[in-house]
């Protein structure tokens, strides 16, 4: 015998019941969920709260990291750089006073080393606080990253840009720059690649970022481990966090022997989401 068709009143009552259930979930008035297999203890409101807190903490972490980088860059550029410049000037005048001989040769050697050190400090400073990003924008800065990668490792970067505006919102420029920078660092360190292909494409209101290399690649489980673990690659997790903060997402695709691709999608127009604010004491704890 077939099941009797429910009446209009019964359907209406079921609908009202479903609405009451949804309201309870929406209001976080739920202790457990019950399924065929048993009871699932879920504190939805706490979970929601925990997720919001995690989001706020991650945002703060990225902000602090950026702040620290700027401070370090300033310290390197303004203090160490100035001291080194003064040292070079001193060496120069010393050279003029020294008679030709072993001491003079030593002074030349020290000057050469100081010059190398200056170059190294400039490189650190540029990495910490990309000077071109603010003045020239994202694309020239990324081109510089590519040149730097090539100079240091011999890896060739091919860049493909489509429909990306000359200037983006500063937050977007910094986030995309850092994502590309970290991806290229990973290529240099781990990929054993000869080439890296970087594309930035604006499609359907989103900036699609892809950093693909032709290196060794790695297995899916290794990617999961990397993203899932607190110990492994903070860099990858921070990249994802940066994309998430701008309403986008980031993921990694790789296969052993087939290279690795870091892919991100970031909306061009950032919609401001609701954020949980941290208390003063929590902020102090982070500082």
């Amino acid at each position: 015998m077939g099941a009797q068709k429910p009446s209009y009143e019964e359907l209406e009552a079921r609908l009202a019941e479903a609405e009451r259930a949804l309201n309870a979930i929406r209001d976080g008035q739920v202790d457990v969920l019950i399924g065929e297999e048993g009871v699932y203890q879920v504190r939805l409101k706490n979970l929601e709260h925990a997720l919001a807190r995690r989001k706020a903490l991650s945002k703060k972490l990225v902000e602090l990291l950026e702040k620290e980088r700027w401070e370090m860059a300033s310290a390197v550029h303004d203090h160490a750089g100035q001291l080194l410049t003064a040292l070079t000037i001193d060496l120069d005048s010393l050279k003029n006073e020294l008679p030709p001989g072993p001491l003079m040769e030593k002074a030349f050697l020290v000057e050469k080393r100081a010059s190398k050190l200056m170059g190294f400090l400039r490189h650190i400073s540029r990495n910490l606080r990309p000077p071109a990003l603010e003045s020239l924008g994202l694309i020239p800065s990324i081109q510089r990253l590519g040149s730097g990668l090539n100079e240091q490792t011999g890896i060739e970067m091919q860049l493909y840009i489509k429909d990306i505006p000359a200037r983006l919102h500063p937050d977007q420029e910094l986030a995309i720059y850092r994502i590309v920078q970290e991806s290229l660092n990973n290529v240099a360190k781990h990929a054993n690649a000869e080439k890296v292909f970087l594309s930035l494409i604006l499609r359907d209101g989103k900036i699609h970022v892809a950093v693909e290399d032709n290196g060794a690649g790695f297995e899916r489980q290794e990617i999961l481990n990397t993203f899932g673990s607190h110990k492994k690659s903070l860099g990858l997790r921070l990249m994802k966090e940066r994309a998430n903060q701008l309403g986008g997402d980031l993921w990694v695709d790789s296969k052993k022997g087939k290279g690795t691709a870091v892919l991100a999608e970031i909306p061009l127009n950032v919609a401001g989401g609701s954020e949980e604010r941290l208390s003063e004491s929590e902020l102090e704890g982070l500082m």
Binding site: Q29, V30, V32
Partner: protein
């Protein structure tokens, strides 16, 4: 849960309610307390309340199509109606149980 009303004062309404809770979980405790207060605010009514702890007998909940707690079923008078959440909305509870005019 006890029956808070005096049966000698019953006018015309008696209710059989079944409250599904999850042990001592916070919303379950709140639902128990809210229901106790609600019933106490209708001294002329009779409320028979059966409490089911889904942590020890989830099958009863599953068979009654209760998929989250706290939840409360009005079994009689018919039609049967199910509420979800901590029962903090007494206005809705009164309306659905048909007690609005008695307030």
């Amino acid at each position: 849960m006890g029956v808070p009303s005096d049966k000698s004062k019953v006018r015309d309404k008696q209710f059989l309610l079944r409250l599904f809770v999850a042990g001592e979980e916070p919303h379950s405790l709140k639902a128990k307390e809210n229901l106790r207060r609600f019933c106490a605010s209708y001294p002329d009514m009779v409320f028979d309340i059966e409490v089911v702890d889904v942590l020890t007998s989830f099958q009863t909940a599953f068979e009654n199509k209760i998929f989250l707690t706290p939840a409360m079923q009005k079994i009689t008078p018919s039609p049967a109606i199910t509420f979800f959440g901590d029962l903090s909305s007494t206005a809705e509870l009164s309306r659905v149980l048909g007690l609005e005019e008695d307030v």
